[in-house]
């Protein structure tokens, strides 16, 4: 009985290996590349997490998919295109510049430009409405005296 148990224990590692863990040990370079790419991709289940950090089952599946596509020799761009074809631009954290993302990309700059223009116009208008005061020398002296008094008190 004891011998049988020992034999059973010895055999345990044979059953214990997991496909995923093996992949990791086999090719740490690929794993690093996979994580690097997965950080640029959004998990669709928990939408504010990247594919690299998400624990959702779909994210695990997609990481497996990305890993396998890399093993097939696809470039990062090809893998991104592969995922976009299935899940749409939404999987990318950085949205591509397209006709309907123009507002997103350039809207803030347009707003800044308009605001700057508004400020410039406002300043110009103020210069026109507040005329330069032409003071006589006496008035100048009086003003200086008044200001001095105020400083002393």
């Amino acid at each position: 009985m004891k011998k049988f148990l020992i034999l059973l224990f010895c055999l345990m590692p044979v059953f214990a290996h997991g496909g995923e863990a093996q992949d990791l040990a086999k090719d740490p370079v690929l794993e690093k590349r996979m994580i690097g790419l997965a950080e640029k991709l959004r998990c669709l289940v928990c939408q504010n997490e990247s594919l690299a950090s998400s624990h959702a089952e779909l994210a695990e599946d997609l990481r497996r998919e990305v890993r396998e596509l890399m093993q097939k020799g696809m470039s990062d761009q090809e893998i991104m295109d592969y995922l976009v074809a299935r899940y749409g631009d939404f999987v990318l954290y950085q949205p591509p510049v397209k006709s309907y993302t123009m507002l997103l990309w350039f809207g803030p700059f347009a707003l800044l430009f308009v605001a700057g223009l508004g400020l410039l116009m406002q300043l110009r208008k103020r210069r026109e409405t507040v005329p330069e005061a032409n003071l006589t020398p006496e008035a100048h002296q009086r003003a200086a005296a008044l200001l001095n008094e105020e400083e002393k008190s």
């Binding site: 669709l44 599946d61 899940y87 749409g88």
Partner: protein, 175 residues
């Protein structure tokens, strides 16, 4: 006058944007697969794993592909709607049992009834990835040429069935 009008206009525009933006459901990500051919697959059937099912078998018919799983909570909500639809014989419903064990799937159908002509087993969820599945249940309306025409994300309800899915099916069947 302008002093008050301008901030008011900006405020109204902002409220408009927020009203529309906050009303959108962030879980509904538009699928890029609309108007594209349904991705091909060959999968074993749930009830009879010796036989396979492929979307190519469905050429010439308008059909629904419903992605479900025994572990999916919203599928319970959807199930009676699909049961009622299947009894009306308007459009055949095919199932894709997604990341599920065959035994669990069979038990689930035995318990709640089976609205599907048949279900294909996507044990690993790989076909799900090809179809861009990210939240079960999802339902695809596929036309006679095998092109995806609509994707319902989340449960099919009597409302979206009568307002969107069935009118589309009727239109596609006429073509």
């Amino acid at each position: 006058m302008m002093r008050f009008l301008l901030p008011l206009v900006i405020f109204i525009v902002l409220v408009g944007f927020l009203f529309v933006g906050l009303g959108l459901n962030p879980r509904e990500v538009p699928s890029p697969l609309i108007d594209k051919p349904a991705p091909a697959f060959v999968l074993p059937q749930l009830e009879n794993d010796k036989q396979t099912f492929s979307p190519a078998d469905m050429k010439g018919k308008v059909w629904l592909l419903n992605v479900w799983a025994s572990w999916c909570v919203s599928c319970r909500e959807e199930h009676p709607v699909l049961m009622a639809l299947s009894q009306q014989n308007i459009v055949p419903i095919y199932g894709l049992d997604y990341k599920d064990k065959a035994e669990d799937g069979k038990v689930w159908l035995a318990r709640g009834g089976n609205p599907y002509v048949l279900s294909a087993m996507d044990r690993e969820g790989r076909i799900g990835i090809d179809y861009g599945v990210y939240g079960v249940p999802e339902t695809y309306v596929i036309d006679k040429q095998g092109v995806i025409r609509y994707k319902q994300i989340g449960p099919v309800t009597p409302q979206n069935l009568s307002e969107t899915i069935l009118p589309l099916v009727a239109e596609l069947q006429k073509k």
